[in-house]
């Protein structure tokens, strides 16, 4: 009897395995959100990440970003870049329909991008497209057309820019808006349109319902041009942050991104797998280079040698993170470790470097040189236990090498005020990065976010070269040299590259079990292919 049972069980298991290969139709995929979307489901007007989840599923763009962070065709069958790198032509799929049955054409694409350039446009994405020919004049109301956007026929559209810009293709992922529904609304009033709360796109899922602070429901698009998704429904379920581990344990949600702080609580739950993956982000301690005491790179290097970042990552972050030494994360194709100094913790070396540079202990044993003194404020945004512990560790480590750090804890928004006003000695924050490694936005000396006040001719030159270079291999070399400069200069001390933990119920099949920076769902791209195996 027992043997028979074993055989039956074995058969059951085998059949389960066999079935698992074959996608199953139907079922609901439940995605946990700890913050509710705002209800601005418009790809050119939203700013919150939670809104983008819905947007990514309801709309399709000309391209999408794959799990290797490369642009791939979506609504466009393909594209062509001109010899001089100044224009890009997209060829659209034919007979693709919006959820209301109207066909997607180049007119809709033109409408979507031209709206972002309009003088009355209320969103924040003009900066990404001002390189288009005529964009600035159009934006300033000096002309009525944008020569840089050219509809060639119903299924062909050409964009032309004024100077070569390598990340150009990756900018065309914005969901295409239906012109026939929005074209008559004055651009300045678009943000008030009812459409934004009941979006219609051409994506794999149709919008069904948004209940404020409760949930968003999407439904499979039966007529999706790449084939109907396997699952019937996607539900974004709002869950209280503190209750998230309970929801995961009770299997009331299928997918949740959790903070590494909660890792212990959710590990070992039967039926739930955890995936740890690198994000495109890093955190740092920024020096104010406008102050003479931080002007010498040796001081910044010595401080970096003097801070035990390994302990920070391994103990305080419990291993969730990777010690960072330059501003391009490991997950990016442009990352390099060649010629990068890792600044391993070495307080003796740090002290020696400072002594060699002429810093001598003064009052209270604090290092001094001329009229400069290594006693400074360290601005720390409140809210993260790990960050606060990091600040304490930094303070201790610095005391060991004769540097006095005064901690100033401050609410985030208030801290940003101080940073923007350049009223800081040092502060800690983090950056989330775009898919393209172009560092112009943060690191070019003209950038408004050049918080450290870093002015370096070669760095600027390389950043500009990197933007112009369209050959990926050459671009990689340019960024490698640039990373070595930043790694030597250390305008900010890099702490760690971020990682995320995703908890996924085992009933979800077809995910990436060795996730890259976009996670097990590949952004949300895989939702149109996954299936639910109960």
């Amino acid at each position: 009897m027992r043997k028979l049972l074993a055989v039956v069980l074995l058969c059951l298991i085998l059949s389960a395995v066999a079935v698992a290969q074959e996608p199953v139709q139907g079922g609901t995929f439940r995605f946990a959100l700890t913050t509710n979307p705002r209800g601005m489901f418009n790809p050119i007007l939203y700013t919150e990440q939670y809104d983008s989840y819905i947007i990514d599923l309801v709309y399709d763009g000309l391209i999408y970003i794959d799990e290797q962070l490369q642009p791939q065709p979506r609504l466009a069958k393909g594209w062509e870049i001109s010899e001089d790198g100044l224009s890009i032509t997209f060829f659209l799929h034919e007979r693709v329909k919006f959820h209301d049955g109207v066909e997607v054409t180049a007119e809709d694409v033109e409408f979507t991008y031209k709206t972002m350039l309009h003088p009355e446009y209320t969103g924040v994405r003009y900066g990404s497209f001002k390189l288009l020919v005529g964009a600035e004049e159009y934006h300033n109301g000096e002309r009525d057309d944008v020569p840089g956007i050219e509809v060639i026929d119903d299924y062909t559209i050409k964009f032309t820019i004024t100077e070569p810009y390598a990340p150009l293709v990756t900018q065309f992922g914005y969901g295409v808006l239906p012109k026939h529904l929005l074209g008559d609304i004055p651009v300045g009033e678009l943000e008030q349109a009812e459409f934004n709360r009941h979006p219609i796109g051409a994506g794999p899922f149709k919008f069904v319902e948004f209940m404020t602070d409760q949930h968003v429901i999407l439904q499979a698009n039966d007529d999706y041009f790449l084939g109907r998704p396997n699952i019937d429904q996607v539900v974004f379920q709002r869950v209280a942050f503190d209750a998230l581990p309970i929801y995961i344990r009770q299997q009331r949600v299928d997918y949740a991104e959790i903070s590494p702080d909660n890792y212990a609580e959710v590990s070992g739950i039967p039926g739930v797998d955890l995936y740890i993956y690198e994000e495109l982000s890093y955190n740092y301690i920024c020096f104010n280079l406008r102050q003479p005491r931080f002007a010498d790179p040796v001081v910044r290097q010595a401080i970096t040698y003097g801070f035990d970042r390994e302990t920070y990552v391994e103990v305080l972050r419990e291993g969730f993170g990777i010690v960072a030494n330059a501003p391009i994360p490991m997950a990016s194709w442009a990352f390099t470790s060649e010629g990068i100094n890792e600044y391993p913790y070495n307080p003796e070396l740090a002290a020696q470097m400072l002594a060699d540079a002429g810093w001598k202990p003064g009052a209270g044993g604090i290092l001094e040189k001329d009229d400069m003194r290594l006693e400074f404020e360290f601005l720390v945004p409140e809210g993260s236990r790990v960050t606060e512990q990091m600040a304490l560790l930094f303070q201790q480590n610095m005391a060991d090498i004769g540097i006095k750090v005064n901690l100033v804890f401050m609410e985030f928004s208030a801290a940003v005020d101080r940073v923007d006003a350049r009223e800081f000695d040092t502060f800690t924050m983090g950056w989330s990065l775009t898919v393209d490694p172009d560092p112009h936005g943060i690191w070019h000396s003209t950038s408004p976010w050049n918080d450290p006040g870093f002015y370096h001719d070669r760095s600027d030159e390389l950043i500009e070269m990197g933007r112009r270079e369209t050959d990926p291999e050459k671009r990689k070399e340019i960024y490698a040299e640039w990373q070595r400069i930043i790694n030597y200069e250390l305008p900010t001390m890099f702490l760690s590259y971020g990682v995320t933990v995703a908890a996924v119920n085992e009933r979800v099949q077809g995910i990436n079990t060795e996730p890259g920076p976009l996670g097990p769902l590949g952004g949300l791209q895989r939702l149109s292919q996954i299936w639910i195996q109960d």
């Binding site: 609901t28 439940r30 913050t35 509710n36 705002r38 209800g39 601005m40 007007l45 939203y46 700013t47 919150e48 809104d51 209320t122 924040v124 994405r125 003009y126 900066g127 990404s128 001002k130 943000e191 008030q192 934004n196 319902e209 209940m211 404020t212 602070d213 409760q214 949930h215 429901i217 539900v235 379920q237 709002r238 869950v239 209280a240 503190d242 209750a243 309970i246 929801y247 344990r249 009770q250 009331r252 609410e411 985030f412 928004s413 208030a414 940003v416 005020d417 101080r418 989330s432 775009t434 936005g441 408004p448 976010w449």
Partner: protein, 319 residues
């Protein structure tokens, strides 16, 4: 009575509300941090876009101008547009969430009264008994325990360990809205929110009743040969309830401010998370709208308490 109400509203209420909104607007605008701070995270954003946004939100005006514009709109019945990316009317944002907050607050108030008053009476009736000591002990625990901690404790026990109640939220997508469902989702948050009031009301009821029980007229009642039950429940109770009615007026603001925290723990779809988000993002119109509304509700609550005071005590007349 009507003259009293009119005077309360126009002579006291409106000037107080005006002063309150003025001070609040002043405080939130001089507080550090800016409503456009979060735009830092948008890739490729330029300073010009941020400057345009600031102009669009009216942030370039001085404080008196900003406040005057806000007040002008409010007098016309318009609470303005939210500063966040959705740019929705503040009134809509509030109205969508108001029913949930009122439902939760009402439940916790009812819970506090239905439990607090009888417990207080019993505790006074059997003063210095084991029951009285137990009530006193739990009342102190109830008043002292922070609601976020108590809420987490309830979640841990009832949602995780016993798995009999949901871990917060308000109906899963697609779940039928039955009466039992409401009870299920309301139970933990309303107990958390009502706890300190249950304890407070029980303590007040106890001391109020004990005080009345010592009065001469009750000694007379007992001397006439009335049973102790009639003395307590008929003669003493009505007098003892009077101070409790004022307490009701006072607890309303605490219930609302408590709701902000409790709603966040339980992902309750009320005003709580909107309020907290608005503060951290410096969303001035939403902060102003929510606070104005709370101020009005509190004012009405106090007014009702005063009026019911007159109804309960024939000696009190407002002229």
């Amino acid at each position: 009575m009507w003259r009293y109400i009119v005077r309360r509203v126009f002579v006291q209420g409106i000037p107080v509300l005006l002063g309150f909104t003025f001070l609040l607007y002043l405080v939130i605008t001089i507080a550090p941090g800016s409503p456009v701070t979060h735009l830092r995270g948008v890739p490729n954003i330029d300073e010009e876009t941020i400057a345009r946004r600031e102009a669009q939100l009216g942030l370039n005006d001085s404080f008196p101008v900003q406040y005057a514009k806000w007040l002008g709109r409010v007098l016309k019945g318009d609470l303005g547009l939210s500063f966040d990316s959705s740019r929705r009317p503040v009134a809509d944002l509030i109205m969508e969430r108001m029913p949930a907050t009122i439902l939760l607050s009402l439940c916790s108030i009812i819970l506090a009264w239905v439990i607090g008053i009888p417990v207080g009476i019993l505790s006074a009736r059997y003063q210095y008994s084991a029951l009285d000591y137990a009530v006193t002990f739990f009342a102190f625990v109830g008043i002292s325990i922070p609601s976020f901690f108590f809420g987490l404790l309830l979640l841990y026990v009832f949602a995780l360990k016993l798995d009999v109640l949901p871990a917060g939220g308000f109906f899963m997508a697609g779940e039928a809205r039955t009466f039992l469902g409401y009870v299920k989702y309301l139970l933990l948050p309303s107990i958390t929110l009502g706890l300190s009031d249950i304890a407070g009301i029980a303590r007040y009821m106890r001391s109020s009743l004990l005080e009345v029980l010592g009065h001469d007229f009750l000694r007379t009642a007992r001397a006439k040969g009335l049973g102790e039950n009639i003395v307590v429940y008929k003669h003493a109770l009505r007098n003892a309830l009077l101070p409790i009615l004022t307490l009701m007026g006072f607890t309303i603001p605490f219930i609302f401010s408590g709701a902000v925290i409790v709603e966040n723990i339980f992902a309750w779809p009320g005003l709580g998370s909107l309020a907290i988000q608005a503060v951290s993002e410096r969303n001035y119109p939403v902060i102003m709208g929510i606070n104005l509304m709370f101020a009005v509700l509190i004012f009405i609550g106090n007014l009702i308490a005063d009026i019911s005071y007159a109804v309960a005590d024939p000696r009190i007349r407002y002229e």
